[in-house]
Symmetry: D2
Subunit: 349 residues, 4 copies
Amino acid sequence: MQPKIEVGILGATGMVGQQFVKFLQNHPWFEVKWLGASDRSAGKKYRDATEWRLGGETPEFVADLTVEDCKPGNAPRLLFSAMDASVAGEIEQAFARAGHVVVSNARNHRMDPDVPLLVPEINPDHLRIIPTQQRNRGWKGQIVTNPNCSTVVLTLGLAPFRPFGITRVIATTLQAVSGAGYPGVPSWDINANIIPFISGEEEKMQTESLKILGRLEGDRFAPLPAKVSAHCNRVPVVDGHTVTVSVELAAKPSEADLRAAIESFAGVPQERKLPSAPARPIIYMNLPNRPQPRKDVERERGMAVFIGRLRPCPVLDFKFVALGHNTVRGAAGAAVLNAELMVSEGMLD
Amino acid sequence: MQPKIEVGILGATGMVGQQFVKFLQNHPWFEVKWLGASDRSAGKKYRDATEWRLGGETPEFVADLTVEDCKPGNAPRLLFSAMDASVAGEIEQAFARAGHVVVSNARNHRMDPDVPLLVPEINPDHLRIIPTQQRNRGWKGQIVTNPNCSTVVLTLGLAPFRPFGITRVIATTLQAVSGAGYPGVPSWDINANIIPFISGEEEKMQTESLKILGRLEGDRFAPLPAKVSAHCNRVPVVDGHTVTVSVELAAKPSEADLRAAIESFAGVPQERKLPSAPARPIIYMNLPNRPQPRKDVERERGMAVFIGRLRPCPVLDFKFVALGHNTVRGAAGAAVLNAELMVSEGMLD
Amino acid sequence: MQPKIEVGILGATGMVGQQFVKFLQNHPWFEVKWLGASDRSAGKKYRDATEWRLGGETPEFVADLTVEDCKPGNAPRLLFSAMDASVAGEIEQAFARAGHVVVSNARNHRMDPDVPLLVPEINPDHLRIIPTQQRNRGWKGQIVTNPNCSTVVLTLGLAPFRPFGITRVIATTLQAVSGAGYPGVPSWDINANIIPFISGEEEKMQTESLKILGRLEGDRFAPLPAKVSAHCNRVPVVDGHTVTVSVELAAKPSEADLRAAIESFAGVPQERKLPSAPARPIIYMNLPNRPQPRKDVERERGMAVFIGRLRPCPVLDFKFVALGHNTVRGAAGAAVLNAELMVSEGMLD
Amino acid sequence: MQPKIEVGILGATGMVGQQFVKFLQNHPWFEVKWLGASDRSAGKKYRDATEWRLGGETPEFVADLTVEDCKPGNAPRLLFSAMDASVAGEIEQAFARAGHVVVSNARNHRMDPDVPLLVPEINPDHLRIIPTQQRNRGWKGQIVTNPNCSTVVLTLGLAPFRPFGITRVIATTLQAVSGAGYPGVPSWDINANIIPFISGEEEKMQTESLKILGRLEGDRFAPLPAKVSAHCNRVPVVDGHTVTVSVELAAKPSEADLRAAIESFAGVPQERKLPSAPARPIIYMNLPNRPQPRKDVERERGMAVFIGRLRPCPVLDFKFVALGHNTVRGAAGAAVLNAELMVSEGMLD
């Protein structure tokens, strides 16, 4: 049994940081040894610096760690970034410059032309951009990102259909409140209500998804030559983003073709049995009114995307509904799976 | 001041029936004089036959009326039907056969080739099918219907765009629980959850909307030659169906063209100042995150449809969000406005 | 017809300020002419300074008023204070010192020994402390307060029982999210959840209620010699605080005595037909499962308190449930009714 | 390793039955071999007879079992009853008469003078009534019951205080919708609302709790000589009943005495390490605003009761808040723990 790899969390006291702590508890490869946060928290024990907002109380395995400033120094080589976008950009670069491997959930560098925007089941080869990134920037370290929480649900839902030539996609999201962080959406605004707007979200879905589903050609990313249109809505759901999708496919497959593609879909994380990889990344539910966020989102530790109601679309070719856990598969779990892929590639050796 | 027209309500004790009672309170033209319900309720006072489920207590103006069997006899000529689809079909026909004017919210006859499916701002001329209906069926009475609650929001939202040639529409609904009637959706299923399926709803939206937006050519309806694709979802909202819409328009108008079309849209109910007609049937909201069901749906007595976020769609031409009150503009209020239109046409003389 | 009395709102851009604006729309006696807010907003038009969070859009009657600094100067004599407690204390005093009549919803001065904590149906005579207040403080102006939003529901619910000698009260609240202001409670915390704690609320209910139900003896308040114990909870409800109450009564009345006391309860606002006074301040609902916040709280413009389920308590004497609108009867409407009472007393002449 | 004890479930297809199935999955002692339901379901496979309403899909370990009529015959000796009260009474008796050990969640026999109403940490000795029950009724089998879901939270919350002499209790519940079964509470009624009434619930809490906390004296139960008053409310929460409690204690202990009593509280299930027993049946949470149903109720597999905010009560002696999982500790898990206690007593030998 190998010693575990020491890891740190940038932005550990916030909501996303707490999600990382929870997800990394008992991780077989990674051991949380370092917690970074703002000046205000630095120097305190994690249990004192943090108002724990998830279930139960602050987990014991980190409760007595002292929170550090988010500055390179004594941090482990591998760092997960749970920082808010308002500060993540420069801090992540500082750590990468100092030689750290930064696996980030922040949006700042996702669309950079030399930064992988990774969904390990879809585009693991995008990691091959890293030498270019290091050369461009003169870094020993690196930054790897995962997509926006609604984008990961959409792209995993579409991934099995790639062989049939995705050309046009219209998606409407019904996004949980946990996607807005903390304090996030005021209950006055969302209780028994719908907010038909999430700032910047539609743009992210429309651009990030094409990068993810696109190809790495030499040292540049060629986005998928398709059109994506997103309608984003906040709904009074705790966890789990639901997405309704209509899709046009160049090869005009049958419904049976698509069902077979979903059933057989798997990726590198499944082949390599990465610790956080679900046995099957996409699970089709046959029940007529599923998947549903409250009832299904916690299955498979929140790491699978659930698909249901695949049927012909009178306007494009097919339509379906997809569901994924926004703070797990769409945030902390996504980043951890990215890091596991990188370990399996020998990038942390 | 003319005497009021006496009206009755078929299915008066149920949830939709209660909505009719509430909406008809203090109506300037109509006076509720007759309440029909199932055998179980017949013979009781309305206050005793009804478990009042709306705000406050059973309205006094009907509380002491005796509930009657749903059989022709002493009912007024003009009847609103709030009956459940499981029984509405035959009972409405029996009343029409007996000479009554049945203005129905039930789905049973909506798609009959000789029954108007009416949205007074869109297709008031569809009433001209009535002589054909009466001839076909040998009736002195008649049946007129209003659309399904999500369809009316979609069609009113699209109505201003008709001059630009609507060819393809993809719509996703976020529908309130009141749309499912009573007891409707169990709270166990919908609390903090999404149900991505409503039985029969997508089919209704995909067919009813084309009939409504289509033309009456002689004695037959020619549906709009367009394609509509619907994704229907139940959400934990009390009242108000939100619909996200992407639309393709043959004439390729500018966004300014569409905004102008929305601003200037009005119909016969507005011209004639029908009592339940909103001053403007479609209201565009400029706030970036509106309309919202809980905050906007009660405006204009629930009779307007609110539009927001009109913007280009990367896949079709434009996209926007629409909101309407499902139990008012999508049910009781719709039927009452239909009856007001019919009165203004002299059809109740 | 008399000219209207000009009024201003301190803290007009916040959530409570918006509630004042909404409640004062079309008020027969008062006309909003002045809106004060923080430096950040001063100089802007109200429509630009305010993110309107209630239904519809910013009301036209105030939208073009220019927001002023919260400093005495050109403000009308009568001011409603909707300020946050963090700043209300000193600003209200500055205005009172400058001769203004400050009718405040803030908590800062409620328990001051020379400030009335007014519920016009219960203790209108407490206004007689004002000369003492002015003498003590050397003011020409004055400060009058209304209670905390849960306290007003409890005290109005108990008011009819005062003749029977209230000695002990145990109350549990189920408080709506609007009671926490804006942004208030994060949706992450309250969606499908209960928070069994509201900072400072139990203390307020336990002390404010005894001052309100107590007597003004000469120039000092004698609190009711009773014990009140409160358990305060936040619940996922939009508007309306529900309170379950067990009460001990010295005179050991019968249930019929109490029902009669509720039915006949009225106060000075009803006698004088003040514009915001409900016809009956306390309405008993006979339905077995009412009152309910979502269904009943908007009745009577939110100014009545609803009582239900009066029954014997095995531990104290009787128990019942009470409901009131926390942002109307518990905030803006309470203050406006206070001002109306003061006008009717000639205090604004 | 011993062979597992075969068990059956009466009422297996309903909501409570599904909770039993879920809770018994992978149980170390019990193996579900028999599923009984109404005539309508009998003869079908469980997966076909059941509309699975919990997370995921119908568990595989029971999906292919054939559902049987609820009649004695081939059922195992040990049966869990998840039947609705409308039918449970007679069917349970028929099975007990036929020699079965019926461990029931139904309310029908709870208050029978010869039936134990068991909370294993509180009154395990009440099982000693069984010979009397069998003698009275001429049965070889027996019926053992667990309390109503809100009663179990109240009684476990009070249990540590028994040594101090509980004399008076006032409790207000905030009960989750899952407590009402399925379809249970219509979402129209409870969405963003409070229903301040649950039929029969207050009576159950006021009587069941005294039986549970009372003593078995010879062959009769002597209820605790105390007074309990309950206010029961339904709230829009999925799982978990919250109860606010004020309690009078004859011995006038200090707060520290009570905290110590809570910390040291354990019972027979903990001593014997019964498989479903939580390590500690009552967990005190120090965070100021906990326990909260959505965040805490799933901890300890739903088998612990969480206490918070212990503080002096101005009217009685102390007050606190308690939380428990109504469908686990208050239903399926309670019955399974009862059966484990019975096995550990040798009653299934």
